[in-house]
């Protein structure tokens, strides 16, 4: 039975819904969107996240956040804009413009692992691939791909040479986005792998071991080992619960998937095949999770709830609503945020 222990928990009284979040790799900075046009930045001060800034430059709901390896924050919004935020020496957050050329909303965003470029999935059925243009000092987009519906997920290969996109037209594509000496390489933007998924793709992830994983709305997970070439077989795993919305590789052979089930689920690779290892969430009653006071209160509350309704117990898992985003942090750690307004940091044990 796999399990994960809770490292940190963030719950703010004025944040009722977290629509997306991003945690920097060193876990010092946390950016989240409380389902509005604002971005709230938290800094880790003595094991507690403290609010340090509120960035409000977007005019509609922020749909994607991501930290680069250089400490820059990328935010994209449904108002068709994106900004790259950087903290200057005085500690104030400065934004640089992104020429996104998007006629419709931006849905998801991801920095390349090298931190030089980023990809934004758009509702206008294509992906914007942005790079820094020093002459005009702003980020300029190149469009990649054309699918039949909105791009709902993007993921980078660890080499920053390939980009995977997932769309609601049920197709997962991997594009070659490599660069040459002067700008784009001749093969830039050509599809390398096309996979039919039979349902909308909610999330995509690339592992360091060249495995492409994508989660679909029909509660399945598909794995493709790209080391086997573009015609490598796709392994299909069915989950008995509800569909997944986000994926994170926490190790070379460990994948965490979260979604409408309120719990993170672990998948393990064993001798080349992937298997369901089970839910990681044992609920707030685990003794390692919190202090004694909190425990007894939770238990009492649980008993109270259990005796009154007899239906789905709201406190049987840490999250009490749909998990909307998930960030891998390395060392078997990952963070999740949910519609119940909490952000949790987990460690797979």
């Amino acid at each position: 039975m796999p399990s994960a222990s809770l490292v940190r928990r963030l719950e703010e009284p004025d944040i009722e819904v977290v629509s997306c979040h991003a945690l920097s790799a060193d876990e010092q900075l946390l950016a989240l969107c409380p389902n509005s046009e604002d971005i709230v930045i938290f800094r880790l001060v003595s094991e507690k996240y403290q609010r340090v800034a509120v960035l409000s430059k977007h005019s509609q709901r922020v749909s994607g956040l991501d930290w680069s390896c250089h400490g820059r924050l990328l935010s994209v919004s449904e108002d068709r804009t994106a900004f790259v935020w950087e903290q200057d020496s005085q500690g104030t957050w400065r934004s640089s413009n992104v020429e996104l050329k998007a006629p419709r909303a931006a849905l998801c965003a991801a920095w390349a692992p090298d931190g030089e470029r980023f990809a934004v999935g758009l509702s206008s059925k294509d992906t914007a691939l942005c790079h820094w243009e020093p002459e005009v000092s702003c980020w300029v987009a190149w469009k990649v791909g054309k699918s039949k519906a909105a791009i709902t997920a993007v993921a980078w290969h660890s080499s920053s040479q390939y980009l995977a996109t997932g769309s609601t037209d049920r197709h997962c594509m991997v594009y070659d986005v490599s660069l040459a000496e002067e700008g784009r390489s001749p093969s830039f933007g050509t599809p390398q792998v096309t996979e039919d998924a039979a349902a909308w793709i909610n999330a995509i992830a690339f592992s360091n071991g060249n495995v492409l994983a994508f989660a679909c709305q029909d509660a399945t997970l598909r794995f493709k080992a790209l080391s086997g070439g573009r015609d490598a077989p796709v392994q299909l795993l069915r989950w008995r619960g509800l569909p997944f919305l986000c994926l994170a590789f926490v190790g070379r052979s460990q994948l965490v998937a979260c979604g409408f089930d309120y719990v993170p689920v672990l998948f393990l690779q064993n001798e080349g095949t992937w298997q369901v290892a089970g839910s990681l969430d044992a609920g707030p009653a685990t003794p390692s999770a919190a202090s004694g006071m909190r425990d007894s209160f939770d238990e009492a509350r649980k008993r109270f709830r259990g005796s009154t309704s007899g239906k789905v117990d709201a406190t049987s898992s840490w999250h009490s609503n749909t998990i909307t985003s998930c960030c891998p942090l390395g060392d078997g750690r990952f963070s999740t945020s949910a519609l119940d307004g909490t952000v949790l940091v987990w460690e797979v044990s």
């Binding site: 068709r80 419709r104 609601t168 909610n202 509800l242 709201a314 519609l339």
Partner: protein, 172 residues
């Protein structure tokens, strides 16, 4: 009757639980807008096959899922004209107060009595289990209420008729 209603509602509950996996989906057609895809039918790719759950042809439930909204339509059993009238009055009573019910649609879908529209914003504000409970309870209550109203109506009619006829018996 009661023992066949329970599995019908149970199937609806399970289907709703699976259908209410909604996410935010800004429109692909109009910029800066997010609208229920099941109502506008902008993008064919994000609308799923509708499901009908029926006890018989007079009592059924239509569930139409899409990426950011689910439409649930209910047809209540109406075996005679009294029940038809009561059901019409009952439905119009609710639809006129639709804003208090949040998830209720002002106009039912063609061929059904009452429709609900649940969007992803409702799931952000409310607990999914509670919404499903509300719909199931609503369906139970409508049945019960119409049955009770019919009995009350018949009792009143009988009393009124008896009172009216009594004057003739006094004269005669």
């Amino acid at each position: 009757m009661a023992h066949t209603l329970a599995p019908y509602l149970e199937v609806i509950r399970t289907t709703l639980n699976a259908a209410l996996c909604l996410q935010n989906y800004p429109s692909q057609v109009v910029e800066r807008q997010s609208r229920p895809e099941i109502e506008f039918k902008d993008t064919a790719a994000v609308i799923l096959k509708p499901l009908t759950i029926a006890r018989d042809e007079n009592e059924r439930c239509l569930i139409e899922p899409s990426v950011n909204s689910v439409r649930i339509s209910i047809k209540v059993r109406q075996s005679d004209d009294t029940e038809k009238m009561l059901c019409r009055k009952f439905a119009s009573f609710f639809t006129q107060r639709a804003e208090h019910f949040v998830v209720l649609r002002r106009k039912p879908v063609e061929g059904y009595d009452i429709s609900f529209l649940i969007t992803n914003t409702h799931l952000e504000e409310m607990v999914k289990e509670r919404i499903v409970d509300f719909i199931i309870e609503f369906m139970e209550d409508v049945d019960k209420e119409i049955k009770d109203l019919k009995i009350a109506l018949n009792t009143r009619l009988r009393a009124a008729a008896a009172a009216y006829m009594s004057q003739f018996s006094q004269r005669g």
